[in-house]
Symmetry: D3
């Protein structure tokens, strides 16, 4: 159930039964030569909606703009400041709380959102804010590994590309058929913290935007499976947090 | 063409031919007992996409959250501060400008956005910002009047309800089958400036959220026609601003 | 993934990763004046397929014919003997086992199948047979109660009607708009064991086929929610049995 | 009209006008590297439903499991014993007869079902049982020959593959692009009687499951045409048997 | 197969196997308050295409304009002269004949076309012209009678309305819920010859355009059945004329 | 809004608000080895319907048969005489005029129709006849040139092929992948007047039917864009002619 498609009397009736809501958060940035600019926002939206259908929850409109300064060397990336991002999420949570929502389940799909989101959840809020990324669930990562092994990489991963293929659009690989440079374990450890250099350095180091990820391995069927599995685990987690049976 | 569904090489190719982009802006607020919470964001998105198809333009992700303090007395309304809204639009415009977009055509669907948006367009920006609401075009208003006469009203209007019916969902009127109190000309003049009292006053005065608008007259076929007409006029206007043939 | 829609090399590849399969079992019998003859087979099939998508499992073709002697007083009911039913399920399980499937997860939707199925699982089989009905999961029953209270009843229940409405067909209630006789707790206890009298007695006692169930309360949206919830719980249970993460 | 999607009062009304029903019978067995496991059940179901729409008849749920011992050397084949198969069909015919159906038109799509089905029709039954395979109609075979000539072969034929392509799924040929060994007339005559050796012999002789059939020639458009033609002829035949105009 | 959607090499290949083509002929005239202006053209097109799919034939573009002078008292009727109609059909048949088509099967759906069409078929033509109306087949009329009895009437019949409902649009009956004046046998005999008075007389006598036909009895399911039956009989008839098996 | 899908009371209501109607005119003739026989009729219909949706207009049934004698050397072309074509259009315009339509906007898609159509518009008519071809609008031609440059050619152009690809069918290029002989400026000037030699000469000179047009460059996405742009310009033009705002 999308909040955007409900009437106010329907929201009123919902709030008599449940005080929870899911808020998807993504980004608008390059995802390599065959990944979509909206990959993160689309993944967050689709997983959130599927999970909400399973758990009987409402989904708020997706936050599609986020900080992504390191990717601005690639056309189409739209990066906003951490400060604006933080103000926006905080205002939305306050607005939801003012309506009686007591639990905001933030479903994130963009690594660079995590630092500001954690910052947010540590401040005082009248409602509980729970932050999860869709890769926080171990069975999801097991499936990602079993599908793509070390070619999953860190950015423009075949898994996220596959999820968007399942629901939106399959782009022909073209030049992306050539595997990217594979990252070594040190690089992976270093970058996993989502620390990035300047936009120029980033593009120099990863000229087509893929970071150790072989996007061309993605298949829509894989995406459907990843999406369903992630949604199921999000739904379980959400229901547990809300104390619903 | 939605930016979210393009790859970065596709955006790069587009920027070689055109420097324009359309940015839809809506709200997340009550629209009466049979109108959808997302009415404004949905109208802005749909008209923008249809216009972009006609004009060969790109559409950026919709801004769905906006200031709507006077409507917070109704469940489901999520209002953010004018300051946050302004920071978000400014950051997005700066981000688009940094990518080489020279013209941002803001397509608005929520009256209360106009004051902050005008504020924004008056400041210095490296790119040109053009602000239009979908009711800025006279043929659209002629059609609204010919369809609903004075029952169009000011909020939860049959026209905006009809547009969402055409593309998303038709809600049974229920209690909304009873016409709302009709506004007199003085009230219309006074409120047309989008000045509103407190949330409590607003709900007291308009108990079910409709402001002089008889939403139950809406029909999906009307919405399809309104949407197509508005899109055609937006496309013309956009092409004229960009100096395209 | 339906077995019927796979090729043999695809089944071979699947068996290298997993040894489990889901086998839906229903019936072909009356479900009151607005419920479908295939209600049980349709519910079993749909829940099994949704669960299989979540768990990455295969679904075998549904067993649609089953024993239902007590309902043969109503046109359209096709009842087979317990002996034939048992032989069929046993042959299928043996056939699956011969192909290397080690776990057959029988998803049942017809109460009268339980006695013969239990009989089957107690005999020696080279593969493990796990029998579940879709109402074996407590959260599903909580949702059924919260939707329909005591009007859920025992046969042609609004829950099963709602699931078929969500995916197949909505029949106008007609005479079923009138509530059936409500069962008292003693009757419920007595009948819950799926013990039934003769076809004649059954029709005399429940002239339109509903057993304490007010089918007309069913709504497709409820069905979608019940189906998703049941599928999620079946997927979890299946993965736990198979020892998958 | 599928029996599974009717209510009992609808079946009652039907029986006042007509006493006939169509019962599709298939199998669950390998159909070569690009044919579907469910090919026979899917062909029987689709032709039966299209014919029923033309003739105004009811279709009973498809019997998807059947004897196919010679194909058990290929993953995914599920073979049941002739005895169980016979008991199942007999019970269903008796069940239909008990409801007042006087003519059961069995539409078969699996050669190995013919011996047990003939056995059945020779015994005493209160209702008339008429057994047809979809290739019993000469115009269908003319079309098969005109489309595929001698490459039609005997198992995993391009015709049956084409029918499933038209309605369910098109599998890329892969290795099946290479033609199979072509059968000589003696082999065809010998095998046409559906006599088969052991599963091991069968797989040794036909290593990828195709028996003289070049499945890769199948095209969905051909399938649509075959399906429509077969359905038309079945509908004619059914109406003639029932003595309907 | 629609001629309009084929390429010329595809037509060339077709002509090597078959020399037949189906030409649907309708009208553009009122069909009562809930029947569509295009009823006849739509019925002819749909039945022709379904029959062509069964018989493997080509369908030429539909002739939608025809003589209907008696109906010009109702808005939307577009009547052309018999002379123009005749010239058009003759030119098309000559054009088809010049391409090598030897049999033109005219499928008619408008009574007033019959006189000029018969006129045409009696002249010399290099190709054979066979004229059929979809109600020329006895089983179709049996079904019409069994569905609507004497309420079938002569114009805006529930049967033709039902066929357009099945494929195009269902109009709410509104005032057409009230039955029309029922014709007596003498009137039926007199009018069956498609002899009509002036437009003014016709409208005076049948003020809402229905001629003894209770259009509001139409249901899309009936239309689907009528369409399938008529198509099957047309396909049979066409194949017989062409001497195809 | 298609006239064929309206009822007469709906046409009556329309005529109270507007007196205009759009009449699409095409042809039935070869369009090269990968273009459809119905290309012109399909382009005219689709552009007319999209424009009508934007302008709130009615579309009359398409005239699909037209004079095309020079193309009769290619299978599938059906050519009628200029005289019959003229009589048909004149009768239809008179018929529309008799119903109260005052403006008939003829949307043409076949060059050879222009001479007879101009002839028609010069005669006396009670209604105004306005003739446009979809390539009469400069922005459309700018887009055609920008997409295909000089490969657009004169017949079976990638633009018209692309429009039919967007809505109907994509044919594999096959032999059409080889570019046709490119026309020199003199030839273009000479032929642009739609003067053609005999059918034999025409086929000898352009053996596969393409006239300087490289159809294989067509893409459905281009067609969608061409269609939308042409429709927008037709809608504008139509509204201006009718004096609607």
């Amino acid at each position: 159930m999308k909040l955007a498609l409900m009437t106010w009397p329907e929201v009123e009736a919902y709030l008599e039964c449940s005080k929870g809501i899911i808020l998807p958060v993504g980004s608008t940035e390059q995802h390599g030569p065959m990944g979509l600019i909206g990959t993160d926002a689309l993944c967050a939206s689709e997983i959130a909606e599927a999970a909400a259908d399973m758990a009987g929850a409402i989904v708020a409109p997706t936050i599609a703009y986020a900080p992504a300064p390191f990717n601005t060397g690639f056309p189409g990336t739209v990066s906003i400041s951490e400060q604006t991002f933080l103000a926006l999420v905080a205002d939305i949570c306050d607005g939801l709380s003012a309506q009686g929502f007591e639990t905001v389940y933030v479903l994130n799909a963009h690594g660079a959102n995590l630092a500001p989101l954690r910052d947010l959840s540590e401040r005082f809020h009248p409602c509980g804010i729970h932050i999860r990324s869709w890769w926080d669930f171990e069975p999801v990562n097991t499936l990602r590994r079993s599908l793509y092994g070390s070619w999953e990489g860190l950015h423009a991963t075949p898994s996220e590309v596959a999820i968007t293929q399942a629901r939106f659009r399959v782009v022909e690989p073209g030049a992306a058929a050539v595997p990217p440079r594979q990252l070594n374990p040190d690089e992976i450890a270093e970058r996993a913290g989502d620390r990035h250099g300047s936009a120029e350095d980033h593009r120099r180091e990863f000229p087509d935007g893929r970071v150790g990820a072989h996007s061309a391995l993605a298949r829509p069927e894989d995406g459907e499976r990843l999406l369903n599995l992630a949604a199921m685990l999000v739904a379980e987690d959400y229901r547990e947090i809300l104390g619903e049976p």
